[in-house]
């Protein structure tokens, strides 16, 4: 009995001692730096870039700890407005209703939502040559008036392959950007709702008759610059002439695609600005410093991370907001 009590006392002491230790790691040896943590949550589209920025920023500012989670643009907005996180990551335009709730934002860069299909689709070659127009996309995603691939591509005969439409079930900036391509909202997109951007791309990879949409970095592999095997971009027939011309043909690799977004050859929406949002102008000095860095030194990382940088006057406008 007595040895048990001693053992218990020792182990409690060790536990308490270790608790004390971990709280102390912030105090550095030479300077009086306090560890600051900035938490992010929101769009899957911004998640890779936020991580790259966090890593690069930590090289010059090691005392800042970044806590980044994805979960969809809507979640980022809700978390930022309710104070659960410091900064929300947002991947669509901010509406007036949201602005009136006190949303403060800076624009960072652009990227795009791309419609995706499975390369094993029976009519993949026809699709690659002809592309799909905006009205046809609307008929597939919103009205559901075209139900078979043969009807869409006006092919006679065929086995009657049904178009399996996949959309996002969670509150997503990508979904809203895609829907605003044809003037609608996320709730108008019909189709099986999958959770998260990886959810949609997985569903498309598994079903050869499927169609969906994804953020750029969930379709292109940043290391090779090529499209991820198993999923392919649907060329958008922007001028509606029934075939894919030279300047609509930009999906071969990431750089040509980003160039097309930059030049406006890829329609915008579904190309859109990406934002960091906060509730009111950020009070934490570290957050403002980070935003300043993002708009100046951080912009060098944007292109290599797979996004399109904003033009310089847009950046200056954002820097003015930070003052």
């Amino acid at each position: 009995m007595k040895t048990n009590k001693i053992f218990l006392a020792i182990s409690t002491l060790i536990l308490l001692a270790s608790c004390g230790r971990s709280g102390d790691t912030s105090s550095s040896k030479e300077t009086n730096q306090k560890q600051v943590s900035i938490s992010f949550s929101g769009a899957f589209a911004l998640y890779p870039l936020a991580q790259k920025w966090a890593e690069a920023y930590n090289k010059t500012h090691p005392e800042v700890r970044f806590d980044i989670q994805a979960g969809g643009a809507g979640k980022g907005l809700t978390d930022a407005l309710s104070g659960a996180v410091d900064v929300g990551m947002f991947s669509r335009a901010i509406t007036d209703a949201e602005k009136s709730k006190g949303t403060w934002y800076i624009a960072l860069c652009k990227d795009a939502v791309i419609p995706t299909i499975n390369p094993a689709n029976p009519y993949i070659n026809t699709i690659r040559e002809r592309g799909i127009t905006k009205d046809q996309f609307k008929a597939i995603f919103v009205d559901q008036s075209v139900k078979r691939w043969e009807d869409l591509l006006s092919i006679k005969g065929g086995q009657g392959a049904k178009i399996d439409v996949f959309t996002r079930s969670d509150a997503s900036g990508a979904a809203d950007s895609w829907a605003s391509f044809f003037g609608k909202k996320q709730e108008n997109l019909k189709g099986l709702g999958m959770n998260g951007d990886p959810g949609v791309s997985d569903a498309v990879k598994r079903d050869k008759n499927s169609i969906g949409y994804n953020n750029t970095l969930f379709l292109f592999d940043i290391r090779t610059g090529k499209q991820i095997p198993g999923i392919e971009a649907v060329p958008i027939d922007v001028n509606g002439n029934g075939k894919i011309d030279e300047d609509e043909k930009s999906y071969a690799d990431l750089n040509t695609f980003l160039k097309a977004v930059n030049d406006g050859k890829y329609p915008s929406p579904p190309a859109r600005d990406l934002y960091f949002i906060t509730k009111g102008k950020p009070a934490k000095k570290e957050v403002l410093d980070f935003f300043n860095w993002v708009l100046t030194d951080g912009q060098q990382l944007v292109q290599s991370a797979g996004y399109v940088p904003l033009p310089q006057d847009a950046i200056n406008e954002q820097l003015n907001k930070l003052k």
């Binding site: 979960g71 969809g72 643009a73 809507g74 979640k75 980022g76 907005l77 809700t78 407005l81 309710s82 509406t95 209703a97 949201e98 709730k101 049904k162 399996d164 079930s169 969670d170 509150a171 997503s172 909202k185 709730e187 108008n188 019909k190 189709g191 099986l192 709702g193 999958m194 959770n195 959810g199 997985d202 598994r206 079903d207």
Partner: protein, 331 residues
């Protein structure tokens, strides 16, 4: 023993080195000391029982507080829309301020009922086998298995559902019934739910069967009944109320399961007409659209109203099951 304690107390009070006149002040009568310890003991006794009443009242007030909070938070919605149209309307387009919860309520009920229909007979028959026919080591071996099943996180079930159940429904089960399905359907959700609720129902039914006194079974067998007749007329009869409350627990658990179902059910706002249709249960509605709360006016009170509906459905189901138990006890 009390008397000796008092005597000891008395002797402690008297110290030989103190002046005799002071002795009379410190000295207590045995009755007074008795009274002191008695009051102290009564006080501790009352404190402990009150403390437990406090804990119990916290438990009782908690559902009330939750319900009240939900009602208040969703007041924005039921003040501006008719409750009948909220519950029974089929239109769901929040940006046009149309909030019809009927597809969600129906999807929830469909997926839970189908899930229970699959798991109820499975659990009952396995419990009967484990307690009546199986060797002892099998029952001992099953306990950790059930605990593991109960401990697996919901997300893992969801991922398993997406990888295994969805293709199963799409490629094997749907063609068997001459129906087309992409796999993301009520049936997929029900299959995942049935596996998730098995540990809880099975554990409860095993407990129920353990409580039935073995003498009853032996008496029945000695009267000439066969093993199955004994099980049917003695064990099942005696354990009926326990089995029904186990099913009630499974129902509530299945109704509230969010993540696993959300990943396999397809999340399409429609009134399901067959088990191969996609659905959109109430918990998935709240979990998926948590992010849109701030963007669309009165959407947050709509989601609170959805949670309130879920709360009320669970209370109703529990009341119904309690009533069934009460009625079956009278048999």
């Amino acid at each position: 023993m009390l008397i000796t304690r008092c005597e000891k107390r008395e002797s402690e009070h008297i110290s030989p080195s103190i002046h005799h006149s002071q002795l009379t002040i410190h000295k207590q009568t045995p009755a007074q000391t008795n009274f002191q310890t008695m009051t102290k003991r009564i006080f501790i006794d009352k404190l402990s029982s009150r403390w437990m009443v406090l804990c119990l009242s916290v438990f009782l007030l908690l559902p009330l507080a939750i319900g009240l909070g939900l009602v208040l938070k969703s007041s924005d919605l039921w003040r501006t829309h008719a409750i009948g149209s909220l519950i029974f309307s089929k239109d769901w387009s929040p940006s046009e301020s149309q909030f019809g919860f009927w597809p969600f309520i129906l999807s929830s009920l469909w997926v839970t009922v189908v899930g229970l229909v699959i798991s109820m007979p499975l659990c009952l028959l396995s419990a009967i086998f484990l307690t009546q026919f199986a060797p002892n080591w099998m029952l001992r071996f099953m306990r950790p298995v059930i605990d593991i099943l109960a401990g697996i996180p919901s997300v893992v079930y969801g991922v398993w559902g997406v990888l295994v159940i969805v293709p199963l429904v799409a490629d094997i089960i749907a063609p068997m019934f001459h129906s087309e399905s992409l796999g993301y359907s009520i049936l997929a959700g029900a299959l995942v739910l049935s596996v998730m609720s098995i540990p809880y129902i099975l554990n409860m039914i095993l407990e129920v069967f353990r409580q039935v006194p073995i003498e009853l079974g032996e008496a029945s067998l000695s009267l000439g009944a066969t093993k199955w007749e004994t099980i049917k007329h003695v064990f099942l009869r005696k354990g009926a109320t326990g089995i029904i409350s186990a099913y009630g627990l499974g129902f509530s658990k299945a109704l509230g399961e969010t993540i696993a179902v959300m990943m396999v059910i397809g999340n399409v706002v429609q009134v399901p007409t067959s088990v191969f249709d996609a659905g959109y249960p109430l918990p998935a509605l709240v979990a998926n659209n948590y992010g849109e709360m701030m963007s669309i006016p009165s959407y947050d009170s709509a989601l609170m109203f959805g949670s309130l509906l879920l709360f009320l459905i669970i209370i109703t189901i529990n009341v119904i099951f309690r009533y069934i138990i009460y009625k079956s006890e009278a048999i």
